[in-house]
């Protein structure tokens, strides 16, 4: 017996034309196996169609005309979500911030070394920001400590930082300690921070999803400088609500 296998899918969902449907009907009368398959296929189709699909993210609010212009004129060799990362955010700087973070309020002691791992993985000088998923629930004190720790870490200079970053990256204990989100989610976090802090100067060099006083928040670590190639002289931490990208708080420290 020849089973009409190429017709069972459209037969099961009713898209087969009447003439072919009659042929399959005829076959099914004498073939229990195909009857079973059609019944199972229909049950599966019904089940998958009954699954509710939650509303997805409002991407139209991400793809604003300004953002579209930015994405289409940006350097094609850099990933889209790295576009907001400035040249100043070289791997050494990322590692520098990473080294400061383990001392911050409640943050995992492994966070810095695995961030350094990510920086090392992205290649020398690459500024590939990735959203870290942190369990930290910050308050004002913890953020001030974060800014202060970063300023203190500025005493550690170039070569030393590089060595420490490399050592951190090589530590097996650090592997996998920090969870990272994908590029799309990273971009949304950065876009949210830029929306909240529109007009504020500075370049995000590290971004986390954490909480601020119990409210889910994006936390951006930002370097500011006078521009014109002058090194940054201020470190800020931007905190915006995940839900509506409103400003939750801001703290700064002079470097």
């Amino acid at each position: 017996m020849t089973h009409p296998l190429d017709r069972l899918a459209p037969f099961a969902d009713g898209s087969l034309d009447p003439a072919e449907r009659a042929l399959v009907d005829e076959h099914l009368r004498s073939c229990a196996r195909c009857r079973d398959e059609v019944a199972a296929a229909r049950g599966a189709r019904d089940a998958v169609r009954a699954m509710p699909v939650p509303a997805g993210p409002d991407l139209a609010s991400v793809f604003t005309p300004a953002r579209i212009s930015e994405l289409t004129t940006a350097h094609p060799q850099r990933p889209a979500w790295a576009k907001v990362a400035p040249a100043i955010a070289a791997a050494a700087v990322v590692a520098l911030v990473a080294l400061a973070l383990p001392r911050l309020g409640g943050s995992s002691g492994d966070a810095g070394t695995t961030a350094a791992d990510a920086a090392a993985e992205s290649g020398a000088g690459a500024a590939a920001l990735r959203l870290e998923i942190a369990d930290t629930d910050y308050d004002e004190l913890a953020l001030r400590a974060a800014a202060g720790a970063f300023v203190a870490s500025r005493a550690v200079e170039g070569a030393d930082v590089g060595d420490r970053a490399t050592a951190g990256a090589a530590s097996p204990a650090a592997a996998g300690a920090t969870r990272f989100a994908g590029p799309g989610r990273t971009e949304r976090a950065i876009a949210c921070l830029h929306r909240a802090f529109r007009g504020f100067p500075g370049d995000i060099v590290r971004v986390q999803q954490a909480a601020f006083r119990g409210t889910p928040a994006y936390v951006g670590f930002v370097l500011e400088g006078p521009g014109a190639g002058t090194p940054p002289d201020t470190m800020s931490i931007w905190v915006a609500a995940v839900d509506d990208c409103s400003i939750l708080t801001l703290t700064s420290a002079r470097l």
Partner: protein, 199 residues
């Protein structure tokens, strides 16, 4: 901008220098792209990421879009490829993959007591769907979630239409088996004439 305006008209306006035409394309298709990604990937956060990546890719490649296929067909092709990329990334780098499979911030909230069975059923169905082999799952999702015709799925996947029908049928049988609604466990590929490449 009206719904009556065709996607291809919006593409043309975007290429003529009107970025808000692309915003409209995103607004129009974002939920369908997200649904596809969610059902193929089984992970709400990853689906949101991949949906956004899809539109970034589309934005960058729109200049080269010649209109040989309908915009929706091309969009689905980009989305399916982005899903495959994400599935490959998971296999390659499991340690960095975040898997908030259920209870993620984009899934429905905590179930009310009178909906508990329904939510549990959805989770069972999601887990069952995730167990369907990738190629079959993609075809099944395009057919049964996206409601696409077999001809269009064949264009999206760039395979013969017979292959599409075969994948959809196998996908449904695999899903039925995972849900426990198959009349008996069978291996579809053992059937005579069940070659996937059958035209």
């Amino acid at each position: 901008m009206t719904e009556a305006e065709r996607d291809e008209d919006l593409v043309r306006r975007f290429r003529a220098g009107e970025p808000d035409a692309f915003t409209e394309l995103v607004r129009r298709h974002q939920q369908r792209v997200y649904s596809l990604c969610l059902r193929v990937l089984g992970d709400a956060d990853a689906a949101a990421d991949v949906a956004q990546d899809t539109f970034i890719t589309v934005l960058r490649k729109l200049e080269g879009f010649r209109g040989e296929a309908a915009f929706t067909t091309w969009l689905h092709r980009v989305a399916v490829n982005a899903c495959y990329d994400e599935l490959r990334r998971r296999k390659r780098r499991p340690a960095l993959h975040v898997v908030p499979e259920e209870g993620s911030d984009r899934e429905p909230g905590p179930p009310a007591p009178d909906h508990a069975d329904e939510v549990a059923g959805t989770r069972d169905a999601a887990a069952a769907l995730a167990s369907v082999p990738e190629e079959f799952r993609v075809a099944l999702v395009l057919a049964d979630v996206q409601d696409m015709a077999y001809e269009q799925i064949a264009q999206v996947l760039d395979v013969p239409i017979g292959t599409v029908k075969s994948r959809v049928h196998r996908g449904r049988l695999a899903l039925a088996a995972a849900l426990g609604i198959a009349p008996e466990a069978r291996e579809p590929s053992t059937r005579p004439g069940a070659s996937e490449e059958e035209p």
